[in-house]
Symmetry: C2
Subunit: 363 residues, 2 copies
Amino acid sequence: MSVLANKDKRTEARVNEVIASVPVLRQEWRERATRRLNSLTKPPGSLGRLEEIAARIMAIREEERPDCSKKVIFTLAADHGVTEEGVSAYPKAVTRQMVLNFLSGGAAINVLCRHFGIDVVIVDIGVEGGTDELEGLVKEKVAQGTKNMACGPAMSAEEMYAALEVGIDLARHAADNGSKLIGTGEMGIGNTTAASAITAVLTGRPVSDVTGRGTGVDDAGLRRKVQAIERAIAFNRPDPSDPLEVLRKVGGLEIAGLVGLILSAAARRIPVVVDGFISSAAAALACGLQPRIRHFLFAAHRSSELGHSALLEFIGQAPLLDLEMRLGEGTGAALCMTLIEAAAKLMNEMATFSSAGVSEAVG
Amino acid sequence: MSVLANKDKRTEARVNEVIASVPVLRQEWRERATRRLNSLTKPPGSLGRLEEIAARIMAIREEERPDCSKKVIFTLAADHGVTEEGVSAYPKAVTRQMVLNFLSGGAAINVLCRHFGIDVVIVDIGVEGGTDELEGLVKEKVAQGTKNMACGPAMSAEEMYAALEVGIDLARHAADNGSKLIGTGEMGIGNTTAASAITAVLTGRPVSDVTGRGTGVDDAGLRRKVQAIERAIAFNRPDPSDPLEVLRKVGGLEIAGLVGLILSAAARRIPVVVDGFISSAAAALACGLQPRIRHFLFAAHRSSELGHSALLEFIGQAPLLDLEMRLGEGTGAALCMTLIEAAAKLMNEMATFSSAGVSEAVG
């Protein structure tokens, strides 16, 4: 870290401070939640995983009636130098085009967030090309995309810390604005390549076992993608035990932003709904930096992208949904957030056996 | 059927008319939906099962932009004579107590329907005891619960037809009121016993393989439950190829009502979201009466009640959710209906590649 300038040393210190401030969940709050759930007019445990969700939300918030109604998804957009290797079915220009689509409300994430009453915040953290003129965009561009990881590190340490800090600040602002539930989202042509590289490094599995077709690359493209990742790992030799080194060498600016966002949300006791494959790569790195992070995460869904299951297993998360989705943007998180909100409302609003005059189980 | 009085013969004719009027879904509407879905700004197929849902909704409705915003769940309540055999963890009085809880808005189904913007209609189709004084209840009591199926048929033919007709009329009114999506729900102490009996008869599996703990009966209670079902089947000898005979002999009044509701909804091109185990037993009987029914069904979730998976397999439905729930009331349907509404909105509201100026896949 001696390469860091003073500003980056300050950022590094701030990142470490956020990591250290992630709280320990207290057993007494879980027990309080269980007592409440067992008093409600339903057979004990009959709401299944919704009960576990509600109990964990109570333990995270340390509130008797945790409110999850104010929900926000951050969709971080960035480009990837590795697209030079022909790893994607779509041209790189689609990242910026989709940002425009997000801003005009026509993308899947917009439709879902309108339906579920979720705020969606679109962030340029590394999109190639100018975005100064775009209204409604959060402009935090750290660089014009990453460099090609097949030929060297994806990012400099300066870029990585800057991107981490963007995410940290996004969660801080969200907390200050009263958000109670944060979802992760991303857009970046080439970013399943980065997420597969991270997965291969962290889990130690062969690249071909954790590399899928992303947006729908053909057989030749899939071979190029696997080879590009293998070259990236061979060249960069990231240390699996050093999450920030993995992130810097084979990650992406939006992934770095999400790592910061997740850490910072947890530090402020805000549950994080992790979308799909790319978001889970960020979550895995965040868990590497702070194992307590996993208690604050809700894995939204099992993506049909090859590699996601390995990553979910690695971070010890059982996804709530399995709808064979593989779109990203935060779409899986959007679906899941309303279920989490519903779980909290069940705990908060249901009548108890005694208040409703319902007989309890016999024997 | 010679035992039927004239009124019941008219009802039988009406049931047969509803069964015959369930439409065939046309392939051209599915293809139209697929073309629309592939024009939207996402990689083809990347919304996974939401795309199949949206396409099926379009084919059911035969509308270019099917609207699912007006949603209703019917929670049919009835008692079961088989509770005499000690098959439940809760006393029979809980059926009526829970009806009161539904009416005052304190049950899980109320909380979920408020959250998701679903109307919930509580129907007394066979609750033991008086309900005349209860406001907000749909009063269609056919009988004071079923008779004990371990000692004879659960219902008379008259009762069964009356209950079927209640369900038929509920869906008709819902259609007239503009409902676009119907969910099934039920409440009835002892009704997992009836649903397990139906499952055993229809699938031919051993009773002990498809009989679970319901609301949470203990080991001794589970043995009594299995024995009661075995006696009911041995005594009544229902013909597995005659769904109405199975329904009459080992079913329940709320299950009969749901059979009518499902048939009638499909006849009016309204998709039906099937809740859990008891609702799936009704759906299986409806599929037996009219195989085209399955195209109108969406199985909400896989209940953790033993026997549900066998039933889902029997009716060829892959559930959307698997959250280890086993509460009934329509709670699984409530969670699922918002996902179906979201799927339709995605198809209706997303921008196309051409309208948004997004490049399509290369190669």
